[in-house]
């Protein structure tokens, strides 16, 4: 409500106005990222850069911390150490300098919500709102978060549902859709906020094998349109074909990263080779 008086908010607003100056910086910059759940050290110093308009696929065995890394990028997890910058903006904190030393201040949840609204996320279990139709799911955030007019949000939602090939399913509830269709609605829902970055957390792992293709096709189309994407996935074929960068994680650290032709086809590290021999 009283946004201008909140000390945290101007930062978030500033980011919008000086966006042009940041075209040289990477879309995502992760520095020395640590994450602990209680006493479990899940991420042990991760550094990662994702260029604008590129697709980064994170591979790794379960428990390697790849989903946690993704969830730290939009602050679904509070980070324990290090920093995450999206579009050059520090996520979750505000930095001040006092007598030469820098201090971090946690941002107000409202500001964090605003930061999140510019990052789309797609979940393994779809997490569509079951009490809303496909169309209402896609309209929800533009209307409720951004305050768009219903008519405008509706037109945009129909456009997005057409883009993911679901024009004939707009009035269906999630339970009336197949897994692949649900995941495509979830992608449309995330795109409705016009995000500058899309995060995919194992988007095809919960799907029947014959439904994986339709979701990957939508993602491939999205990558071609220039969207910056970070994808946690086990789809090696997709990574090889679409990724600009492949990151292999194990035990909370990045073991190896590079173009798919290197990491997937000619891995250097023994752990990468071992993992790929199991999934390929």
């Amino acid at each position: 409500m009283s946004a201008p008086t909140d000390p945290g908010i101007p930062d978030a607003q500033k980011s919008g106005s000086v966006q042009a100056d940041r075209s040289g910086t990477p879309m995502v910059e992760v520095r020395e990222l640590h994450k602990e759940f209680g006493h479990v050290h899940v991420l042990k110093g991760v550094d990662l850069e994702v260029e604008r308009g590129s697709v980064c696929v994170i591979l790794g065995p379960s428990g390697s911390g790849k989903s946690t890394l993704l969830r730290c990028m939009n602050e679904l997890e509070e980070i324990t150490g290090g920093s995450v910058l999206v579009d050059g903006e520090l996520m979750g904190f505000r930095e001040t300098t006092d007598k030469g030393s820098t201090r971090l201040h946690r941002l107000h949840p409202r500001v964090i919500a605003k930061q999140r609204s510019r990052i789309g996320m797609v979940f393994q279990r779809f997490n569509l709102f079951p009490h809303m139709t496909a169309l209402e799911n896609v309209m929800e955030a533009p209307v409720q978060v951004r305050g768009d007019a219903k008519s405008k949000a509706r037109a945009r939602a129909l456009e997005l549902l057409e883009r993911v090939g679901l024009s004939d399913r707009v009035d269906h509830y999630p339970a009336q859709l197949s897994g692949g269709q649900q995941q495509r609605v979830a992608i449309a829902r995330a795109l409705a906020m016009d995000p500058e970055l899309m995060l995919f957390d194992e988007p095809t792992s919960a799907l029947d094998p014959e439904l994986v293709g339709e979701v990957l096709a939508v993602m491939q189309d999205l990558a071609r349109s220039g969207m910056t994407m970070v994808v946690v996935s086990h789809e090696i074929g997709f990574a090889r074909e679409v990724a600009d960068k492949v990151v292999f994680m194990d035990d909370g650290v990045i073991v190896e990263e590079g173009p798919p032709s290197e990491v997937i086809d000619a891995p250097r590290e023994a752990r990468t080779k071992d993992f790929l021999s199991h999934v390929l």
């Binding site: 709102f129 978060v145 509830y173 269709q181």
Partner: protein, 338 residues
């Protein structure tokens, strides 16, 4: 027209898709017959005892069933039930949200409230509210521990009706709060997470995403609590509030020295209202419940043929969709109610 389903007819015609359909004799169960006869005989005896026993004075029952004072008593009972339930629901939602708050003071306050109001008899609470004016003859609005701006006499404002309604509502809220909490925690956390990722604020997530799904779990037991409340209103004589059904019928019964027929009058009225509420509850449960019979939409996965059902036109469609999506737990009360 079509006697496919009138089973024996089609056996000989050869149209039965199961050529070797089994027609076996059922297992003999003589015990069922014996127990049924026994129960029916007992029921007939009980009914006979009700009808032929002149001490029930059914003529008096019939007369007072339509008595103006009694019908007015029914009205007050309904008003008390409805108003205290509404207040209790509002309070319960607040308490349930406080219980989930990040602020420990809120959590403890809610816990303490539930502990206290569930832990003392409602009768005692009602007596207490009736005596409020004795305890605090004056109420005032002002700065805590400081000056008072408005002062009024408790007796003028907290009348017997308000005391009765408040007493019932405050007690009921403690039970309903647990029901609401069970409902809220039955919703898949992935739902709130997805809403968070879209940039929704906590209050909006609760209102737009979590509560609508929690209703499926909250509403049926709330119907049950309403029926229970209808009969709990008979305790407000503790306040004392003297216009509701039980008190009125008791008073008449004592006056005309016919306590039993008047008890029957009250019982019949409670039964009638409960029956109506049960019909309402049946429809509410059908709307929110998980058994949707043939109208249940297909689950996730599998193909998506062109014949897939369009969204249901009736109101159940939305609730059926929530039920089928499995985002709420099947047995939410298992891990909440002690």
């Amino acid at each position: 027209m079509n006697d496919h389903h009138s089973s024996p007819a089609h056996v000989g015609t050869g149209t039965d898709p199961v050529p070797n359909r089994i027609h076996a004799r059922p297992v003999p169960r003589p015990g069922r017959l014996v127990s049924a006869v026994l129960v029916l005989v007992l029921a007939a005896m009980a009914l006979n005892g009700l009808v032929t026993n002149e001490n029930f004075r059914w003529d008096v029952v019939w007369l007072y069933l339509r008595d103006v004072t009694v019908v007015r008593g029914v009205g007050w009972t309904l008003v008390l039930t409805a108003s205290s339930m509404v207040l209790a629901i509002l309070l319960a939602v607040t308490l349930a949200i406080m219980r989930r708050s990040g602020n420990p003071v809120m959590r403890w306050t809610s816990w303490f409230y539930i502990w206290f109001f569930r832990g003392t008899p409602v009768y005692t609470q009602l007596v207490f509210w009736g005596l409020l004016a004795v305890l605090y003859p004056r109420l005032s609005i002002g700065i805590p521990f400081g000056p008072e701006f408005f002062v009024f006499d408790t007796d003028d404002y907290i009348t017997a009706f308000w005391a009765a309604m408040l007493g019932l509502a405050l007690n009921e809220a403690a039970y309903l709060a647990e029901i609401v909490r069970a409902g809220l925690s039955s919703v898949d956390p992935g739902q709130a997470e997805a809403a968070k990722a879209l940039g929704m604020k906590d209050s909006k997530i609760l209102r737009r995403v979590v509560l609508p799904q929690a209703m499926r779990v909250i509403v049926p037991p709330t119907g049950n609590e309403t029926i229970s409340m209808l009969k709990t209103t008979s305790l407000v004589l503790a306040v004392p509030f003297t216009l509701e059904l039980t008190f009125v019928t008791n008073a008449i019964g004592n006056r005309i020295f016919q306590p039993i027929p008047l008890l029957m009058v009250a019982a019949l009225w409670y039964l009638l209202i409960t029956s109506i509420l049960m019909v309402g509850q049946h429809y509410i449960e059908q709307y929110y419940g998980r058994g949707f019979g043939t109208d249940r939409p297909a689950g996730t996965g599998g193909g998506n043929g062109g014949g897939r059902r369009r969204r249901a036109k009736n109101g159940g469609g939305r609730q059926a969709a929530i039920a089928a999506s499995g985002t709420t737990k099947e047995e939410p009360f298992m891990d909440v109610t002690p």
